[in-house]
Structure formats: C-alpha cells, structure tokens
Symmetry: C2
Subunit: 328 residues, 2 copies
DNA sequence: CCTGATCATCGAAGCGCTTCGACGGACCCT
DNA sequence: AGGGTCCGTCGAAGCGCTTCGATGATCAGG
C-alpha cells in the first residue's frame, strides 16, 4: 500500500523469492514460472512497488528518460509547440519513459551535461535550424537523438519533418481541381527563405511541380502594407489568376482584405488555401482550407524513432510526414 | 575532454586525491584546502566530468529533478502555459535542477509513480481546481510540492496564485480614476463561477471593495449574442455607466462591438479594462489596459518555494502575486 | 537408471556516488 | 613538552537495482 521506501528486497521477501527473481519477472529478461511470476506481481501490487529510478539507471545504464529540447522563449507558434510537447510526452509514456524538458537556450553545453550525467537516454531536438550549433555537439556526443526539421548537414542524423514538398503539391492540386487557371504561392518574406532555405524551397518546388506553366511563387513580407501591395501587383500582372496558396501565417488576414478590396470573392470566383495552423485558417471569412503542420504526429514519430534507436533497431535517416489538407 | 564514461574515480586519480575528496569539493559539504580544491576542479574541467545522475540520486536520495504537471491537452490558454513552462525550467536550472514534464492526465497514479520511483524530489502542479483528486494524492504521498491555484482545502499545502482580489480592486481603481461614475464588472459565465468559485469570487470582491455603491458585477456567457444582450441590458439599467472591467477573455471582442453599436466611444467617453492575457487586450481597437496573469513570475515563485521546501526551509502556505496593470 | 540438456531460481558482484567514522598532522593552550 | 582541538583527507560501507555465472530440479533419450 505504501510506495515510498519499498524496495525490491521487500517485494522479494513478501513473494518468497530472491531479489533477482523479482527483477527478472519485471523485466522479462529470463523466463520465470507463471506461479512465481504471479506471486511476485501480487507482492508488487500489494506494496505499491515502483523501482527506484536512480538505482535502475545506475545498474542498467538506462535512465528511462528522454530529453526534449524546445525553443521555449521566442516567437515559435505556440499551439504547435504545445501539441508537440503533449504528443511527445504521451508517446513516451507509452514506452514507459519520462520526458525531461529543456529549453533551447541551454544550447550545446546543456546537451553535453545531460549526456555526461546519463540523466537521459536520448534526445529530441525541436525546431532545428539549417545552421545549428547543437547539431555538431550532438554528433560529437553520440547521444541517440531525433531531430524535428533538417539541418544543412543531416549526415548520420535521424530527422523527421512534414513533407513540405508534398504540401506545396497538395495546395496546387487543390487549386487546379477548383478550376483555377493561373495560380500563385504567396510565400514568406525573403528573410525566412534565407534562414531555413530547405523548408520554404521545398514548398515552392512542390507547388510548381503540379502545373508549372501557370504557377508562380511570390515571396512577401507579412505587414499589412506589403501584403496589400504584393497582392495588387500579383493580380495586375496575372489577370487570370484565380487561385492563391498562402504560406505565411501572419499575412493570411491581410491577404483576405486585399482580395476583398480588389473585388475578388473568395470561395466563389477565387480560391485560397493556407499552409499553416488551423486557427489561422479558421479566423477568416470564409474559413479557408489548409494544410497544417501535424505537430502531434511529428512528435509521436520522433519519439517512436528514438525508442527504436535506443533498442538498437535501425530507423530511416529521414522521415517525411504526409501533409493533410483540411477542407472547410 | 570526453564526458561520457568519466567517473569520480577518474577525476580523483587525475587530481591525486580520494574519490570522497572530489565529492566534498563538488558539494562543499566539508572544508577542503584551496590547493586541493583547485586541483580537483582542474581535473573536473579537463575530463569534462559530470556526476552520474542515477548514482547521485541513489547515494544522496536527491534526484536533482522536479516534476511539473501541466494540463497539456485541453483549452488552457497557451501563451500562459508556455510562459509558465519556460519560467519554471529557467528558474529550476538556476538551482541546478532539471524539470520532468508530466501531463495532468497521468493523474494521481502518475504522482504515485514519480514519488515511489524517486525520480523527482518535488512537484509543481499547475492549474489546480477546487475539487482536484490529485490534491488528495499529493497529501497522502507527502511529496514536497507547490500548487499554482487554490484547491478547496489548501490545508497544509503550499499554494501560489495571482492575487485576484487585488486585480479586481486595481480595475475598479483604474475606472474610478478615469472619472467613471457607475462601473461594472462583466464576469465569466455562471459555469466558470461554479467550477472555480474561489478565483472569480475574489475578483468580484476586489472590484466591489473600491466603490461598492456605484459598482455592479454581471456574469455573462462568452458567445457574441449573449454578450450583445448583456451589454445592452447593462447600459439600459445603468444609464450613467461609463466604466467596464471585463474578466472574460473570449468576450472582450464582442464587448467592444456591443459598445460601438451602442454609440460608446471607448477611450473617450467610456473606459474598459481587461483581466486577461496581453494578446486579448492588444487585439482590440483601441487597445485596452489590462491586468494579466503573470505566468512567468508565478512559475519562478513556485520553483523557488519548492527549492526552499526541499532544503527544509519554511515557506508561507499561501503566496499571492501582486497584479500589474498595463496601460496602453 | 544414468547422462546431458533445459528450466527456474539464487547469490554475489558491481554500477558511481555520498557519507560516516577514523586518522594523522598542525596548532593552541598550559 | 604533553594534551586537546581542529582541519583536511582517506577508506569503506552502503544506496537499490541489474546481470552474470552457478546450482538444483526436471525431463527426455539411450
């Protein structure tokens, strides 16, 4: 009934077996007769026994904890972060692991610390950038890890991310199916393209792959004035444009205004699709179809891959999650 | 330089001392001569030594980890949650502790598990409700803990929260200072009052304490129609009303529309103040002054209190954080 | 009925650390 | 000079678990 202070010896005594036998029942690493196993499990339940995490870590060289490093401070999109954290914790618990939360600003030193102190068995690194000092540290430390996102040099690393190319393709597809003639992708500002080339580039390529002849990609800053201007220029330069994909969260609202100002009726003679979180696509009138970053799935996949690696099972270096188009 | 696999014995050998001496240098629990200490610290740095967390936990009965249980799934206000997590991790690291992330849906069983496995030394429980099964478990387990929020029976527990009564008072004060004659508090729907009486009640009392004769409190659901109706009734029944405090996040936008419909010009002949997150108060035209839930401060205070408790130092059972009014 | 294999269980040896008691030397007091 | 303190350091004993090799017991095959 207690819990606090119950050791494996107590369980062993109550079940009338050796401590090692209890350990084997619990881990299943040697075969134990069903009768003995039952008696042990009953004792465990009676006493409310839980193995001491530290002792277990010391003896087995497995902490039963994985670290999750999140960019907790800056302008990351919050809902995505939460879904991610929630997905990771839930999946980890399914594998009987706990999750240690680290902030990205602990940086490489933080990684070195958790690796050396053996406080965690592995690591999930979120929001990896193209040039990320943590990536080098990771490689040096040899700590099993899974990254969300792709750094410039992913050699030998396990990475998971949304298949952004497919996302671009899905958006183009959607617009073409709606009968749009000319279509365009309104992207992020140049700055974002510069910072994480990979991901914006991949959306562009996917978008253009569908109907390249009549598709264009326009980068665009996200302030109201720039969006207003960009949309105006776009409509002028391509009079037959009737479909627009927007891969720029903060700009979505402004885009809708600019289209309304230009006399386009979205949902009727004009179509818009968003790459971004649900809330953004739901806050407009009319609500827009969207492809979202499936944070929960990403987290689950990352954790699952990490567990595999810890068990010495091979996982693919690179895993791309299929985008899901939500109609509204 | 290595890190992985470096033990205290390696450090001891390199510094030419006994392992226990290294331990004492690191913990400061016995006096060691400066020369020896220097040599040890040099060896630690050279080898990149970090104590093995499991071994340390086993021998010292201190894990160096605290758990943080968050409601990661449901409709909690996200920015608050993130600020909270970020504040807690940062403060914990200052005390050389790590943070284990748990979801509220692990419930009492989760608490029992982490307590019995000694994987954490203490616990921070966020978003405590008036009737919370975890609270009873906590008391039973005797795990050192700090709660954010006040359960019905806080006897013997350490709780931290915003001083909601002061928040109500500050809002009334603000309106009175703006020369408002009659003022009102538009509160949450009855349901919220029912769920966590404490906190809504306390705002009401604070609000009424300032100028009770000319102040009223109106509960209100948060859908557009209800808000529209409530505001209209309010303005009719109190023609001299020129100041309104809104303690109902989702309703704020609707309140502004209703006031505009009624011809009130907020910021000129009418004043509104919000109790809620910054984003809500910033999304209106004009932006509104507001009292926010200081998540980061709450988290830091909670962690600090927990550290104290772990060190056997007394902390107050109940700590109320002063509200801060942000003018805009 | 003996041999060798297989199965279920045990005991002991660590895992890397903290902590307690002990011990020699330096220092102070008389 | 002798006794008592205090200081700095050491060695050994565990913390609670896993894991390895060993040990009986059981059983099939000859």
């Amino acid at each position: 009934m207690a819990g606090r202070g119950v050791t494996i010896a107590d369980v062993a005594a109550r079940a009338g077996v050796a401590a090692s036998t209890v350990s084997y029942v619990l881990s299943g690493k040697r075969s134990i007769s069903p009768e003995t196993a039952d008696r042990v499990m009953a004792a465990v339940a009676d006493l409310g026994y839980h193995p001491h995490a530290g002792a277990r870590a010391l003896a087995s060289r497995r902490a039963g904890v994985v670290a999750m490093m999140l960019p907790l401070r800056d302008g990351m999109h919050l809902p995505v972060l939460m879904q991610f954290a929630s997905g990771a914790v839930t999946e980890a618990r399914r594998h009987d692991q706990d999750v240690l939360l680290m902030t990205a600003d602990e940086g490489p030193a933080g990684l070195a610390r958790v690796a050396a102190s053996a406080i965690v068995d592995g690591l999930i690194l979120m929001d990896v950038e193209v040039r990320d000092p943590r990536v080098e540290a990771l490689r040096r430390l040899g700590l099993p890890s899974v990254l969300i996102g792709f750094p410039a040099d992913a050699e030998g690393l396990t990475c998971v991310d949304l298949d952004f190319e497919a996302a671009g393709r899905v958006c183009a597809q959607y617009l073409v199916e709606r009968g749009c003639g000319d279509i365009a992708l309104l992207g992020a500002s140049e700055a974002v393209y510069a910072r994480r080339t990979g991901f914006a580039e991949r959306v562009r390529e996917g978008f253009l792959s569908r109907n390249a002849a009549r598709a264009e990609v326009w980068p665009c800053p996200d302030d109201a004035a720039s969006v207003q201007r960009t949309v105006k220029e776009l409509l002028t330069s391509k009079p037959e444009l009737t479909g627009l994909a927007v891969h720029n969260e903060p700009a979505v609202g402004h885009v809708m205004h600019a289209l309304a100002d230009a006399g386009r009726r979205v949902g009727e003679d004009f179509h818009v699709v968003v790459i971004g979180p649900d809330e953004v696509a739901e806050r407009t009138h009319p609500q827009l179809p969207s492809v979202l970053v499936p944070a929960e799935t990403l987290a689950e996949t990352a954790v699952r891959h990490l567990m595999r690696k810890l068990d010495g099972i091979d996982v693919p270096d690179s895993t791309l999650i299929e985008p899901q188009l939500t109609l509204r």
